[in-house]
Amino acid sequence: MDTLQVYLILAAILFSLGMFAVITRRNAIAVLMGIELILNAANLNFIAFARFGGMNIGGHIFALFVIVLAAAEVAVALAIIINLYQNFNSINVDEAQQLKQ
């Protein structure tokens, strides 16, 4: 378990699954969950390199900023999704093709 590769492969799996959600999900909130998975995969890579690649605490700081950005991103995204729901009565991304109804 003490190898870099295990963590990198796990992060690759998380990234691929998140990508799959972004590509195939219809519901905007499910797409958002996929984006969270992708951000977590990136964070896992940062922390893995912090331990094995000599980044040390710098890797932790970068992961911390990623978490802060994820929090800001999810707040704005949910506000947009709620707006979308009020205008179209649906939050399927394939039905939202216009900026106004």
């Binding site: 799996i13 699954l17 932790h60 992961a63 950005l69 947009i80």
Partner: protein, 162 residues
């Protein structure tokens, strides 16, 4: 013993992530996302990042996930039939994603990674605090302005027009 715990959390993370992606019920997907985030926090503990594991649990599970659940409940009539959400174009998406994963795994395997066997840090919180106030002071302040902007922006966007 520690190996068994490690692989348990790896399997747990992967299975829960699969559920997030494939589950037809959005609420189940959100709960599975909770387990995934917990598994990633466990990985942080194995990587000696105790403060990051705590932050992950506090912000992701305590904040972002609750926000997502709010989003699900505000945008669905719980009793409606459309609560189930299938994926579209699964085959094509799976093809692309498997290609991406194969490329990443191949890259991870053939790269001769430089592995530095560093010592376990004694006080990560102390070091993170020092670095945030010295080397990373500008990003830290910019992040605070960004959070304020996101907060105001979200409040303005979500407000009903009167």
């Amino acid at each position: 013993m520690i190996n068994i715990v490690f692989w348990f959390f790896v399997i747990l993370t992967i299975v829960a992530a699969l559920m997030v992606v494939l589950s037809k019920n959005l609420v189940y997907a959100a709960i599975a996302l909770l387990v995934t985030l917990l598994g990633v926090a466990a990985m942080y503990v194995f990587l000696w990042a105790d403060f990051m594991a705590g932050t992950q649990v506090m912000i992701y599970i305590g904040g972002i996930l609750i926000l997502l659940l709010f989003g699900i409940m505000l945008t669905h009539k719980i009793t409606s039939v459309r609560i189930s959400h299938t994926n579209v174009q699964r085959g094509f998406g799976a093809l692309i994603v498997i290609a991406i994963f194969a490329g990443l795994a191949w890259m991870v395997n053939i790269t001769p990674w430089l592995q530095i066997h560093s010592q376990e840090p004694q006080q990560t919180v102390h070091d993170i605090g020092i670095l945030l106030m010295t080397d990373y002071l500008l990003p830290f302040e910019v992040a605070s302005v960004l959070l304020l902007g996101a907060l105001i922006g979200a409040a303005v966007l979500a407000r009903k027009e009167s």
